[in-house]
């Protein structure tokens, strides 16, 4: 493994801890995590329920802040930021993809893809052009005027991926993206992620409990009880 240049590191966690309070009783969920994610990599965070992966996902997605330790996103220390600044960074740097797609049912596909750009204050004309480009990228260019209810699950997730890409984020953060899909569609979606990662160099962090997907990742972080149990890279796979 070639020594990573600093500018290549997108995400760096340093002794990251998260403790919830159950009444007056502290419950540690994340007990000191250290890892880095480099630009262009496809990282899988794997763990059973209760391993702390949801909490880690929320922290990586800046919906939650760590109790102690550091989370650096492109060398910005997240814990020092205000709520508004977090929202701005979330908007620009992170592309969320949810298990249940979370599309807005009353908006068209085009409008759904545009939502993050709305919050990024992108002018309407540019938004529309970008939405079309992204829809074509996920092979839904012909369905821009449709609504999510007219689409299959796989197509919905493709819309969600297009939406996540709309502000050119630093990385995609996918939460069990194939969890609500049948096996065949799931594979299609994973192939799409793969293609984006390989051809466009999109950085992807995927949180899942499904060990069957591990072959897709070039870095796997396995969590158990709030600690990294195993961390391995499938080096050479793409190099």
């Amino acid at each position: 493994m070639a020594p990573a240049e600093e500018s290549d590191v997108i995400v760096r966690l340093v002794d990251l801890r998260k403790t919830y309070m159950a009444g007056s009783l502290p419950v540690p969920v994340l007990k000191g995590l250290n890892f880095t994610v480099r630009r262009g990599s496809f990282v899988g965070i794997v763990g059973t329920s209760g391993s702390g992966k949801s909490t880690l996902l929320n922290i990586l997605g800046m919906l939650d802040v760590p109790t102690s330790g550091q989370y650096l996103l492109e060398n910005i220390a997240v814990e020092t930021l205000s709520d508004t600044e977090l929202a701005i960074i979330r908007n620009r740097k992170i592309g969320f993809i949810f298990q249940s797609f979370n599309l807005f049912p009353h908006l068209t596909i085009e409008q759904n893809i545009e939502v993050p750009m709305l919050y990024g204050r992108v002018p309407a004309r540019i938004r529309r052009a970008r939405a079309l480009e992204l829809a074509q990228k996920v092979r839904l260019g012909h369905r821009l005027g449709h609504r999510p209810t007219q689409l299959s699950g796989g197509e919905c997730q493709r819309v969600a991926i297009a939406r996540a890409l709309s502000n050119n984020p630093a990385f995609l953060l996918a939460d069990e993206p194939t969890g609500n899909l049948d096996e065949k569609t799931g594979i299609e979606i994973m192939d799409l992620f793969h293609k984006l990662n390989q051809e466009q160099g999109v950085t992807i962090i995927m949180v899942t409990h499904n060990p069957a997907l591990e072959s897709h990742y070039d870095q796997v972080i396995r969590l158990r009880d709030g600690l990294i149990m195993e961390k391995f890279s499938a080096e050479g796979l793409h190099q």
């Binding site: 949801s54 929320n58 997605g61 919906l63 939650d64 709520d83 508004t84 929202a87 701005i88 979330r90 908007n91 620009r92 969320f96 949810f98 249940s100 979370n102 807005f104 009353h106 908006l107 939502v115 993050p116 709305l118 919050y119 990024g120 204050r121 002018p123 309407a124 939406r163 502000n167």
Partner: protein
């Protein structure tokens, strides 16, 4: 924060999604604003009507009038004899009042107390002797023919001008040769020279509207009737002696009208030996009083109406709170995609304010409709001012801000982690 246009579009889009719900939600505000507008229109209409009646008597005028003293009075008057009754304003009063400061002129009115008949039917009309300036001072106009001329006064001509109701009551509809025809009253015959019209609703105390009067020159009246009038009471003849029934006092300075009326009262009090056979009426005072009571009425009525606005606002708040709960997953998703708390807050606030503002507009339309119906069917004048419409619209938007802030704040405070997990 989102671009304002996008934010507005987003909020309106959400309202259009639930058209029926949006309308039902704003129903409270619609009715609230509607009733406020209708209430203000009705009370403003009533006020205008009352004020114009008072104003028609002249705001620079003081009316001094004779009043028949009550029988259980002090007993100092000639009532005791049972045959002659003397009261009212005298020539001495006239001379004195004419000399007062701030009095520009005094126009006389004297009820001749002659019975006016049509055939054998007694009509409710008065034969009144008036001064030359009466036409001007009573705010009337000549509809046909002419007013009594100075020559008529000089020559004590047997001419009269009739009010428009007199024309209606004494003549047939469509009769055109009224001016120039004659009117027989008692033993006297008067030539009608003109028809007078008073469209201000002027009502003189004790004498009523000029429209119900047959007007003759004071000089003629003095010559043919004098100040005495005779009334039959069973087998007894009662004599009533009243010099003048009413002085229309025109003042120079409205500012000092109170002072002048007080001095007139003081003078009459002194010279009439404490017999209350007179009274003073200042239309301006009446106007002020009426205005004050009307304003209180307006305030009370619109306060009651605005309670329904508050109730409407609370209704909207409830529905918006329910809507926040229902849409918490949408809120969570928006937050994850980069919406700031302020984006969510403003989105929900715009939704509520739009609801109440649209409700306000519909309410204005409804209020105008209601007041039109009232004018049409209840024959009450209604006046809606631009002011009340603008105020209602502003207030309904304000209701949106007041009752929308809490739900919007609540929406912005939703924790994205929890609401995204809730399925």
């Amino acid at each position: 924060m989102m671009l304002p246009r996008d934010l507005l579009q987003l909020s309106l889009h959400n309202l259009l999604l639930h058209k029926v719900r949006s309308i039902l939600t704003s129903l409270g505000v619609i009715f609230g604003v509607g009733s406020v507008i209708a209430m203000l229109a009705i009370s403003e209409g009533a006020k205008r009507k009352a004020l114009s009646q008072i104003e028609a008597m002249g705001i620079d005028k003081i009316l001094v009038y004779a009043k028949k003293p009550s029988v259980e009075g002090t007993g100092e008057n000639a009532e005791e004899t049972g045959t002659t009754e003397r009261y009212g304003l005298t020539s001495r009063d006239l001379v004195h009042i004419r000399q007062m400061d701030n009095v520009e002129r005094v126009t006389l009115m004297h009820d001749t107390r002659q019975k006016v008949r049509k055939g054998i039917d007694r009509m409710d009309l008065k034969l009144v002797a008036v001064g030359y300036r009466f036409l001007l001072d009573s705010n009337s106009r000549i509809e046909q023919g002419r007013w009594l001329s100075p020559a008529d006064y000089k020559q004590q001509s047997m001419v009269c001008v009739i009010g428009q109701n007199v024309k209606r009551k004494l003549f047939n509809l469509g009769q055109t040769d009224i001016v120039g025809s004659v009117l027989r009253i008692g033993q006297q015959v008067f030539t009608i020279v003109g028809i007078l019209h008073n469209d201000n609703g002027t009502q003189y105390p004790e004498l009523g509207s000029p429209n119900d009067m047959i007007l003759i020159p004071t000089t003629t009246s003095d010559a043919v009737f004098g100040s005495y009038s005779f009334t039959m009471f069973g087998r007894q003849t009662r004599v009533t002696l009243v010099d003048y029934d009413l002085f229309i006092v025109t003042t120079h300075e409205i500012m000092h009208i109170d002072d002048t009326s007080k001095r007139i009262s003081a003078y009459l009090q002194k010279t009439h030996d404490k017999v209350r056979d007179w009274d003073v009426l200042v239309p301006l005072d009446l106007l002020k009083q009426r205005e004050a009571t009307q304003n209180i009425f307006t305030i009370v009525m619109s306060s009651i109406a605005s309670i329904s606005l508050i109730v409407g606002g609370i209704g909207i708040m409830n529905i918006m709170l329910a809507s926040v709960y229902e849409r918490r997953k949408e809120i969570g998703t928006r937050r994850a995609l980069g919406a700031q708390k302020s984006d969510i807050l403003v989105q929900f606030l715009i939704e509520t304010v739009t609801l109440t503002s649209l409700g306000g507009m519909l309410g204005v339309v409804m209020g105008i409709g209601i007041s039109q119906l009232i004018t049409l069917y209840a024959d009450m004048p209604t006046v809606y001012s631009i002011w009340s419409i603008v105020a209602s619209l502003l207030i309904s938007s304000l209701v949106g801000v007041i009752f929308g802030t809490y739900p919007a704040w609540k929406a912005a405070q939703q924790n994205p982690i929890t609401v995204l997990r809730a399925e």
